[in-house]
Amino acid sequence: MLSLPPVQKLLRPKSVVGSDVAKEVTSPVLATEAGPPTCYSALRADELRPLAAPKDEGAASTGQPPRHDDLKEMLDSNKDSLKLEAMKRIVAMIAWGKNASDLFPAVVKNVACKNIEVKKLVYVYLVRYAEEQQDLALLSISTFQRGLKDPNQLIRASALRVLSSIRVPIIVPIMMLAIKEAASDMSPYVRKTAAHAIPKLYSLDSDQKDQLIEVIEKLLADKTTLVAGSVVMAFEEVCPERIDLIHKNYRKLCNLLIDVEEWGQVVIINMLTRYARTQFLSPNQNESLLEESAEKAFYGSEEEDTKDAKAEAASLAKRKPYVMDPDHRLLLRNTKPLLQSRNAAVVMAVAQLYFHLAPKAEVGVIAKALVRLLRSHSEVQYVVLQNVATMSIKRRGMFEPYLKSFYIRSTDPTQIKILKLEVLTNLANETNISTILREFQTYIRSMDKDFVAATIQAIGRCATNIGKVRDTCLNGLVQLLSNRDELVVAESVVVIKKLLQMQPAQHSEIIKHMAKLTDNIQVPMARASILWLIGEYCEHVPKIAPDVLRKMAKSFTNEEDIVKLQVINLAAKLYLTNSKQSKLLTQYVLNLAKYDQNYDIRDRARFIRQLIVPTEKSGALNKYAKKLFLAQKPAPILESSFKDRDHFQLGSLSHLLNAKAVGYQELPDWPDEAPDPSVRNVEVPEWTKCTSREKRKDKVEKPFYSDSEGESGPTESADSEPESDSEESGSSSSSGTSSSSSEEEDEEEEEGGSEEQSEDKEGEEEEEEKRKKKKEKGGPRKASPRSVGSEEEEEAEGKKVKKAAGPQGKKGHAETSSEEASASESSSSGSDSGTEAPTVVEAKRRKVIPSSKAGPKEISLLDLDDFTPPPPQPVPSSSIISTSLVTDLEGLTLTDTSLAPALLSPAFGAVRTYELLHRMAGEGLSVEYCFSRRPFPGDPHMVAVQIQISNNTDAEVKSLRVSEPKLLAGMRIQEFPEIESLAPGDTASVVMGIDFCDSTQAANFQLCTHTRHFYVSIQPPVGELMAPVFMSENEFRKEQGKLTGMSEITEKLTLPEKCRSDHAIVQQVTSAANVGRVPCGADNEYRFAAKTVTSGSLVLITLEWREGAAAQLTVNSEKMVIGTMLVKDIIQALAQ
C-alpha cells in the first residue's frame, strides 16, 4: 500500500476525468486572483522530496489523478493509521501549494472520522477547498451541525470554526443560526469562537449585518476576558461606525483590559482610542496655564514656570476650566501598565493612545517604553522608529532624554539608519546640536553612501532649523565639497544651495568655490544646483558668472535636461544684469536650446527670448523681466517627511505608508462639546441580573491579574485593599450595585473637584454650588466616595492613604473629611463604597461645608503655585482660618467617628535654601538646595529636595549627575535624572528624593560633572522630616492622649515682641517644621500635626500662649529624638 508508485506511473498522461475535475475546480473566486490552480504544478517535481510524502505528489504536478488513487484507497480503508498517513500527505501538498482538489470526495467522507487528528486534517483540507467544491462541501455540513451539540466544548468550538470557515454562500442561514446559538453557549471558549465567526459570515454575506450587530451587541456585554478581544475585533470589522454600542461596555472594557490576551488588547486599545476621540473633550484644548503648571509640579523635573501665580489664576477664571471626564482618566490609567507588556504591538497601541488622548504633560511616559522597543527585531525597530519620528516632531521634549538611544551603529540596516537619522534631526535643538553634529561627522565617513547622503540632508535641516549652527554646518558642508565620492559632493551641493538661499550675501566665497566644481562634478542635480546659485547671485560673483556660462555653453549639448534648463536660466539672468559680457553667449545658448530634442527646453528658450530680448514687438512684460527673474525668492523650508503624519492614527498601517489603507478608520477630531457622559452609565438591574446569572462562573473566571480596581465594573475598589482580599470580593455584585448607579454624577464632580481644587478657586466654588443644588434636588444620596481619582494623585498618594486610612471601615470618613475640609490634594482613590449609614452622615456634612470651604481652598491654590525656586511669600495656612471658621470645622467632626488623619499638602513657611556646593569649591559650579515640602512623586517615603544648580563658569558643564551615594543603613536616595548639559550662566533646577529614615543624619553623595566629582552632603533639619496631616480637634486630643509620658516633651519659652500675633506664630512654626495646622477652639492655643515621612509616626505640636510673653510648647511624638530636636528648633524659630 505504502510503497511508492513506479516511475513510469509518473509519466503516464493525464486522464480525461482528471482534467475535467481540474476545470471544475477553477471557481470564480479563484479565477480572478489565482488563475487556474494547475499553473502551480509545472515546476517542482523534485523540490518536493524533502516533504513528508515525497514522490507521489511530485507527480501530481505532471498529470494528476492516477497516483492519487493510492491516497484515495488509503482514505477509504478502515485503518485510522492509513487514513492519517494519507491525510498527512495531502496536507503536505496543500502546504506546498499543490492542487489536491480532486481528492475532495474521498477526503470529505472522513469528516466524521473518530480519530481526532484525521478529523483535524480533514478540516484543514475542507477549509482550503470547500470554496471550490461547494456542492460536495455541503455533504459535510451535517457533521458540523452535530458537532455543535457535542458536550465537549473543544469539539463544539472547532465545529463552529470550520463551519464558518468554509466559504459556501448557501449555508449562510445555518451559519447565522450556529453563531447565534454559540453566542450564548456556556463555554466562553465557544463564545469566543462565535465572535471569530462573525466577520467570516459578514465577509461572505454582508446582508446579514443587522443580525450580526445584534450578536455583537450581545457578546460585547460578555464579561469574560476571553471573549472581549475577539468581539471587539468583530465589531471593528463589521460595524466600526456603531460607536454607540460601546457606551455601555466602555468601563467594563477598560477594566478588563489588563487581563485580555495581548492581541485582544491591541484591538481594544485601538478601538477605544477612536471611541475616546468622539466622546471626550481634548485635554489640551484649553492649555490652561494652571493645569500645566500643576502637571509640571508633579513631574517635578521640568523647568519651572516662574509666572505670577495671580495672573494665572485670573486668566484661568475667564476661561471655562477643563475637567477631564473620569472615564477618560480611567482609560488612560488602565492602559498605562500595558506599556510594560512584552508584546511590542501592545506597547505601540498604548503609546498611540497616549499620544492621541493624553494631556500634553502625561504623554512623556510612553517614550521610555518606545525606546525599549528599539532593542527588538529590526522589523519592530523599523515600525517604531517611523512612529517615533512622527511623534518627535510634535513632542520633541519627550524623546530628548533618550537622544543617545538613536545613535547609529554601523551594523544597523540602512533603512533603520535613515529613520534614526530622521529622529536625531527632529530632536536637534540649540542645546544638543553640538553633540548631534559631532555624531553626524562620524556618519559622513560611513561606507554606506545612501546613508551619507541622508546625513548631509540631515545636516542641512539642522542648519536651517537652528540658526546658531548654520555657519558651522555650512563650513562643514563646504569641506565635503572636496570629498572624493561624487555622490557626497553632489548631495552637499544641493544642500548648500538651500542654505545659501537664506543668506546669500555673505557667502560669495562659497559660490566661487562651487563654480569651480562645475569642471568635475557630473551628477546632474548638483550641476543644476550650482548653476542656479550662480545665476541667482550673479551680482555677488560678477567676474565668474559669465565664465561659467561660457563653459556651460560649450558643453550644452551633452548636458542632462535639468542642467540645460538651468543653463538657460543662468543665461537669462546674466543677460539682464550684465548684458555687455553675456549677450552673445546668451544668444548662442538660446539658439542651441531652440533646436533641442526636449520640448520643455525648446519652450523655455522661446519664452525667455521673448521676455528678455527687446524687440519692437515685445510686450509690456519686457520691462519687468528683471523683476521677474531676479525676484527675491523665499528660502526653502527643509521639512521632515514625517511632518503632519499624525493625522493618521499612529501605529496604523496607513500611518506607516502615509496613505490611507483599505478599511482605515479615520481618527475623529475632538468634539467641541462633550457628548453626554451618562450614556456610559450602566443600570443597576442589568448588573444584578448579569451577576446572578454568571455569578458562579465569575468566581472561576475572575480576572487574575487586575488587582483590586480592575474588577468590579466601573467601581474602583480601594487601592489599598490587600490583594488577596480583592480577589475574593472584587466582582461581587454588592460593590457594583451600591455604587454604579449613583456614582457617575458624583464621580464627575468629585473628579472635577479633586483636579481643580488645588488649582482653581473659582472653579471650586462653582463646583460647590452645583453640588449644593444637586443635593437639594436629590436629597441624601448613596455613597460613593470618589472612585476615579486622577492619576497623579493616585501615584503620589496611594501609599500614604494606605497608611493613613487604617482599617477599612474608617476609610470612607477619612476620605470625606479630608476632601471637604481642606487644602489637601485630596486623598486619593481609596474607597470602600461604603454602607448606607455613614453616607447619610456624609451627605449632611457636605451641606455644612461649603461656607467654610473657600478659606482652606485658597491656601491650596497658593501652595501649588509656589513650587518655583524663589518662593513667593505664601501665607501660612491656618492664619487665614478665622476663629468662626475653625469652630465651623469643629462642628463637622462632632460625629463620633474616629477619623484617621489624612495627609495634607504642606503649609508654607518661607522656604530656606541651603548651600550644597559653594561657587569657589565647585569651580564655578554652585549648587543650592531647599526642601520643597511636596510629596516626592516617586516615593512617598522620601523627602523631596529641590536642587538648583547654576553654572557660573564660562564653559558648558556636561552630564551632571549624582553618584556613589554613601548612606547609612536604610537610607535611600532617588537621584535626579542626569542633566545632559548646562550652558554657561544657566541654572537648572531638579528634584531628588531622599529617604532619611527619620533621622537627621546627612546623606552623602558625589555630584559629578563630566570632569569633576564633588563630595557633598545634605543634612535635613528635623522639621523637614515630616509632612503635615489633617486632623480634627477631637482627633488631635485623642492622639495626644495616646502619646503621653515618655513621648511628651514640654518646654517653656518667652515669645519675643514681634512674635506675639497669631500670624507670626503660625508662620514661625510652619517655617521651622513642615507641619499642618489643626483647628483649635481656644484662642491662645495653637496646634499643629505632622507625620514623619519614613515611618509615618505622628508628631503633634501644641503651643500655649499665656499671659504676656510666656508660652509653653509641647511636642508629642513616638520618636523622642525627633521630638526633642523639634522643640529646640521651634523655640529657636520663635525666639528670633
Partner: protein, 418 residues
C-alpha cells in the same frame, strides 16, 4: 487580519503557504521579490510593502522570510510581532527553525499555524497551550503513536485557555522540581576612536526554566530593584505587586520563558569590561596597509572575559590580509571583506593581539572611514549592573524545589569606532 502566510527561503522559493481566508495566489510574492532585489541585503527589505490589492508584511529570521499578506488596515506591529511569535513557536517545537526542519515537520507546522490563527486573528499563541493542543514531535512519541494509534492532537480544550493563568498548563508533574533563573545582561556601547564611551547602556533579561509540579506561586525579589529603570514582563507577572513592592510575583508557565527584560537606568555609569587598542592605517598611494589590534580587560570585577570574538567589516579596497594572532584563530573573507577573529579568553598577563598587513587594491585612494570593530564577549557569574537576586520563594505547593540563579554579562551591540 492576516490573510495568508508565505515562507520563502534564501534562494527565493516559496516553500510553504497557508491561507486563513480565501486563497491568495502566490504570485503576490512577486512584489516581494522585486523589493528584495532592490534591497542589496536581506535585512534591508522593507518590512512593509504595499501592492495594489494587498500589503505584504515580512520578517526575516533564520534565513527565512515570513511574509504575511493582509488586505485591510491593521497595526503593522501586530502582524510583525505575531510573525516573530510564530518563529519562536517553531523554535520551541523543533529546537531550531530552519527550512529543513519546517519541511520535515510540515504537518505539525500546518496544524500549529491552524491553531494560532482563526480567520486571521490570533487565537492561541501561548506555547504551553499550543503544546497541549498539538504535541511537539519527538522520536519516542512517533514510535508510540505508530504502535498504539494515538495521535499528536489533544482532544480536550487545553485547561489554560479557560483558566485565569492561560500560560500555564495544568497537571504538571515532575519528580525533580527545579527552577532556574538566568540573569543575562548585555552591554550596548559605542566607543569612539580615542576609547571614550559615546553611549553605553545595559539591557538585561531574566530567562527562566521552571519545572515545578502543580501550581506554584513564586516571588522573586532583588537586593537592588532600584537599578531597574524600565521593565517589561511576561504576562504572568503581577504588575501591581511590582509597582508597590518591587517584587516579582508570578505563577510561572511550564518550561522555558522570558520572565522579564529590563533596562538599567541611564544614570548609572556603565562599566566597560574590555578595551580595544587599534592601529589601522591605510596609506594613500601604497598598496599596503597596517593593521593591529589588541584587546584587553578594563573593568571586569575580577572575572575572566571569555568567548571574545572580534569582527570587522573591511572597506572594499582591501584585497587580502596577512595577519598573525597571538592567540585564537582568524579568518578574512575576501568576498564579503569580513574579518573575524575568534580570540577566546583574555589572559590579562598576555594580551591577545592581531597584527599584520593589508593588501590594498592598487590605484584606489584610501577609504574615508576606518572599519568599525564589533566585539563579542562573555563574562560568567557577573551581572555588570550589579543587580542581585535576593531570594526566591515558593507558595502554594508543599515540596522544596531546587533553585538556581546564574548571572552572565555579554556584549550586545558593542562597537568600537576606529
Amino acid at each position: 487580519m492576516i490573510h495568508s502566510l508565505f515562507l520563502i527561503n534564501a534562494s527565493g522559493d516559496i516553500f510553504l503557504e497557508k491561507h486563513w481566508k480565501s486563497v491568495v495566489s502566490r504570485s503576490v510574492c512577486d512584489y516581494f521579490f522585486e523589493a528584495q532585489e532592490r534591497a542589496s541585503e536581506a535585512e534591508n527589505v522593507p518590512p512593509v510593502i504595499s501592492t495594489p490589492h494587498h500589503y505584504l508584511l515580512s520578517v526575516y529570521r533564520h534565513k527565512i522570510f515570513f511574509v504575511a499578506v493582509i488586505q485591510t488596515e491593521v497595526p503593522p506591529l501586530f502582524v510583525i510581532e505575531f510573525l516573530h511569535r510564530v518563529v519562536d513557536t517553531f523554535q520551541d517545537y523543533f529546537g531550531v527553525c530552519s527550512e529543513v526542519m519546517i519541511k520535515d515537520n510540515v504537518v505539525v507546522v500546518y496544524e500549529v499555524l491552524e491553531e494560532m490563527l482563526d480567520n486571521g486573528f490570533p487565537l492561541a499563541t501561548e506555547s504551553n497551550i499550543l503544546k497541549e493542543l498539538i504535541k511537539p514531535p519527538t522520536i519516542l512519541r512517533t514510535v508510540v503513536n505508530t504502535i498504539t494509534g494515538s495521535t499528536n492532537v489533544g482532544d480536550q480544550l487545553p485547561t489554560g485557555q479557560l483558566s485565569v493563568v492561560p500560560w500555564r498548563r495544568t497537571g504538571v508533574k515532575y519528580t525533580n522540581n527545579e527552577a532556574y533563573f538566568d540573569v543575562i545582561e548585555e552591554i550596548d556601547a559605542i566607543i569612539d576612536k580615542s576609547g571614550s564611551t559615546i553611549t553605553a547602556e545595559i539591557q538585561g533579561v531574566i530567562d527562566a526554566c521552571v519545572k515545578l509540579t502543580g501550581m506554584p506561586d513564586l516571588t522573586l525579589s532583588f537586593m537592588n530593584p532600584r537599578l531597574l529603570d524600565d521593565v517589561s514582563f511576561h504576562p504572568c507577572v503581577r504588575f501591581k505587586r511590582w509597582e508597590s513592592e518591587r517584587i516579582l510575583s508570578f505563577i510561572p508557565p511550564d518550561g522555558n520563558f522570558r520572565l522579564l527584560s529590563y533596562h538599567v537606568s541611564a544614570q548609572n555609569l556603565v562599566a566597560i569590561p574590555v578595551y580595544v587598542k587599534h592601529n589601522i592605517n591605510f596609506r594613500d598611494s601604497s598598496s599596503l596597509g597596517r593593521f593591529e589590534i589588541t584587546v584587553g580587560p578594563k573593568q571586569t570585577m575580577g572575572k575572566t572575559v571569555e568567548g571574545v570574538m572580534v569582527t570587522s567589516q573591511m572597506p572594499k579596497g582591501v584585497l587580502n590580509m596577512s595577519l598573525t594572532p597571538s592567540q585564537g584563530t582568524h579568518i578574512f573573507d575576501p568576498v564579503t571583506k569580513l574579518l573575524t577573529w575568534d580570540v577566546g579568553k583574555i589572559n590579562p598577563q598576555k594580551l591577545p593581539s592581531l597584527k599584520g598587513s593589508m593588501n590594498l587594491q592598487a590605484g584606489t585612494s584610501k577609504p574615508d572611514e576606518n572599519p568599525t570593530i564589533n566585539l563579542q564577549f562573555k563574562i560568567q557569574q557577573l551581572a555588570i549592573s550589579g543587580l542581585k537576586v535576593n531570594r526566591l520563594d515558593m507558595y502554594g505547593e508543599k515540596y522544596k524545589p531546587f533553585k538556581g540563579i546564574k548571572y552572565m554579562t555579554k556584549a550586545g551591540k558593542f562597537q568600537v569606532r576606529t
